[in-house]
Amino acid sequence: MIRMDGLTKSFGAKRVLDGVDLSVATGESLCVIGQSGTGKSVLLKCILGLERPDAGQVLWDGQPLDRARFMARFGMLFQGAALFDSLSVWQNVAFRLRQRMDDRRARAIALDKLARVGLAADIADLMPAQLSGGMAKRVGLARAIADDPAVIFFDEPTTGLDPIRARAIDALIRGIVTETGATAITITHDMASCRIIGDRVALLADGRIAHDGPVADMDGAPALAGFLGNADAGPGEHAG
């Protein structure tokens, strides 16, 4: 289980996180939604130690999160895929694996993971600059799951994709989370993604958790009404 207790983070005078309390159980898929600029990505970065919170703590299995131990069992899909430009597709996917096994074995696993996200072996030797946005996301997803992580974060996985590709990525994420039993946190403002990927949904507004409940109940949640009402029009306003 990952638990955030009273996470607070300010940038200058702007308080982005104002005492966030949130938890996600082992094997659960949590979607964190909110308007652009409400601190969703900052929340993820605080968990990962990429940003240092001003106050509060992150617990993993009841203990203060040990970053090195956590990262060893962690995978992440970044908003823009964040593939390494100087490495080929398979080298990106096998990045972590190559640090502890020979290239032949690492490549075989990379090809297997690429197949899992629906990519053929013939793209393995392409460079990231040669991929479309959707393919880059899939490669990023393959890299995130390459070492069979126990915890996976997805940062706006469908941003910049057309609806058909977005739903395909959603389905892939849901399938991978279900079959691996990984704990997942997804940052999104795409409510359609939320319905497919999430078990639970939390709304981050004004630096606090304004709603936290099962995805199945979100249509009746007053705090999400505005957000759901404008979902078809794209990311934007919400009631909270």
Binding site: F74, Q79, A82, R96
Partner: protein, 252 residues
């Protein structure tokens, strides 16, 4: 209070920055990084800089020979061309001009590459893959530049002296064998060694500047552009300042 503040604040800021850069360099130089990454950087920083450093040295050596000959003729000292070209190249012009050319080519590319990695979250991705960005990105570049620059300087020295020889033998009436003999005759080992040490130091300045500004790049294309400009300016000024300090240290 105001004038004291006006002096104190920038002084404190400068001290903080110098301290932070020193710590950054110390972290970058502790350890050696992945050998494959260092080799790749040695190709990028060293091998690919050879043409620009070689051409710069060739033309500088040639121009230096012309200048010394025309200036020396005023007091019947035109014969000192080979010795002065050799000493001038190995002590000063080889390392400084080589360093400046590498600063223009390498500091900018390092800052642009690392800066782009920062704004596209590739550096965050490294962290999530249990990889220290300092060890992966900074250490190989610092060591590659430190190792490659003396070789570039030595190559530049030889090509620069050849430039002087070319002009001396084709335009200034020098005999080829005596030009080479005179170049060697007045050259001392410390002249060459001091230039190579300067080169290693300038390599550190160039790579450190590129890595420092790249890792602190602001958002977007404008942020990367600023990081690139700052890296080149800081590297060039750093080389000239370090050259003055090292020359004083070595020869005074």
């Amino acid at each position: 209070m105001t004038p004291i503040r006006a002096i104190g604040r920038p002084a404190l800021r400068a001290t903080r920055t110098i301290g932070a850069v020193a710590l950054f360099a110390a972290r970058g130089l502790s350890g050696f990084g992945p050998p494959r990454a260092i080799l790749r950087q040695m190709v990028q920083i060293g091998w690919l800089s050879l043409p620009v450093v070689g051409l710069t040295a060739l033309f500088t050596g040639a121009a230096l020979a012309l200048q010394i000959h025309s200036g020396g003729e005023r007091f019947q000292a035109g014969d000192v061309v080979p010795a002065i070209v050799a000493i001038g190249m190995v002590r000063e012009l080889g390392p400084v001009l080589g360093g400046l050319m590498v600063a223009a080519r390498v500091a900018s590319s390092i800052a642009a590459e690392i800066g782009t990695m920062r704004v596209t979250e590739q550096i965050d991705a490294l962290v999530t893959l249990s990889t220290d960005p300092m060890r992966w990105l900074v250490t190989p570049r610092l060591w590659a530049a430190i190792l490659c620059m003396p070789v570039l300087v030595a190559t530049g020295d030889i090509i620069g002296i050849m430039g002087g020889w070319l002009v001396g033998t084709t335009s200034l009436g020098f005999n080829s064998a005596s030009y080479i003999a005179n170049s060697w005759a007045y050259l001392e080992p410390w002249d060459v060694t001091s230039g190579l040490i300067k080169g290693a130091f300038f390599g550190l300045v160039v790579a450190l500047s590129g890595c420092w500004f790249g890792m602190r790049s602001g958002r977007g294309a404008a942020g990367v552009g600023r990081a690139t400009t700052n890296a080149v300016v800081a590297a060039a000024v750093g080389i000239l300042a370090a050259n003055f300090a090292l020359t004083g240290l070595f020869f005074e």
